[in-house]
């Protein structure tokens, strides 16, 4: 069995379209609402931030996510790897 969550696999299996930010692995209700308050309501908006931070080079994105919405290391890891894998498939 793989160690990724169903949410992760669902997200990386297809283009993200207009999915909400909570469709990302590691982003639940709480983090999602905090991100929405800051304008990151859709997954593609967060993807933009992810890309501007050089696809999480040197943990830039993870650090930003922890600072901006109080994500813990695990949540940041999940979200980053989710976006990274999506990018390697669809970008």
């Amino acid at each position: 069995m793989s160690h990724t969550s169903q949410k992760h696999r669902d997200f990386v299996s297809e283009p993200m379209g207009d999915k909400p930010v909570t469709a990302l692995a590691g982003i639940g209700e709480v983090l999602g609402s905090k991100l929405e308050e800051q304008g990151f309501d859709k997954a593609y908006v967060l993807l933009g931030q992810f890309l501007v931070l050089r696809k999480d080079a040197d943990d830039l994105f993870k650090d930003w996510l922890k600072d901006s919405c109080g994500a813990n290391s695990r949540q940041a890891d999940l979200c980053s790897s989710c976006l990274k894998e999506w990018c390697s498939s669809f970008l």
């Binding site: 069995m1 793989s2 040197d58 980053s80 990274k84 498939s89």
Partner: protein, 196 residues
């Protein structure tokens, strides 16, 4: 931290490059992150003034990180050639193959272990997760050495202080708190003598 707020984007980028901190474009949503990174970097430099040349230290740090990444990549490709199922680097095709495999076998219970292992390590992320990050460990170690006195010295001082208090107590009061011990010792000696 406020001193970075007044800098222009170009100046901020210059400083980041001087310190060897990797960065992307500075926009409204990323600026605070870089300001914070610079602040933390300078604080670290102040705490450890021994590392005289700042840019050297950071570059060394980042170059080792890159080296680690390369190693990870190398391992990934090694695994890929080993399993052979996943020779192509495209995830999409890989996912499709995965589905085909699943439909053919119904369940992936019978996949051999190396296969499963590789699948999991791949789907974690594009680069496999570093199991234990040496950087984090170093930081922890640094934090523990940041204590004003080492732990064993603190304990030793506590013991010395306690001994001193006991000494004061004994010398100030005529009564020896350990008298009963001496008495019992004396008694036991006496009984031993009488037995002889």
């Amino acid at each position: 931290m406020n001193k970075f707020k007044n800098l222009s984007d170009a100046e901020l980028i210059n400083i980041l490059q001087d310190y060897g901190i990797q960065h992307g474009p500075i926009v409204d949503s990323t600026r605070t992150l870089y300001e914070k990174k610079l602040y933390e970097y300078e604080r670290q430099k102040k705490t450890f003034p021994g590392s005289a040349e700042p840019s050297y230290e950071s570059r060394q740090k980042y170059s080792t990180r890159e080296y680690d990444d390369n190693q990870d990549d190398y391992e990934t490709y090694e695994e890929e050639t080993y399993t052979k199922t996943y020779a192509r680097p495209q995830t999409y095709q890989r996912v499709r193959e995965d589905f085909q495999n699943n439909s053919r076998f119904g369940d992936n219970t019978y996949k051999d272990i190396s296969h499963v292992h590789h699948q999991s390590s791949y789907s974690k992320g594009v680069e496999p997760r570093r199991p234990i990050r040496p950087k984090a460990k170093e930081e922890e170690a640094e934090q523990s050495t940041r204590r004003f006195l080492p732990l064993w010295l603190q304990l030793l001082l506590l013991l010395v202080f306690a001994g001193f208090l006991v000494y004061l107590y004994i010398s100030n009061t005529d009564q020896n708190p350990f008298k009963f011990l001496e008495e019992s010792l004396y008694l036991s000696e006496k009984t031993a003598d009488s037995a002889n």
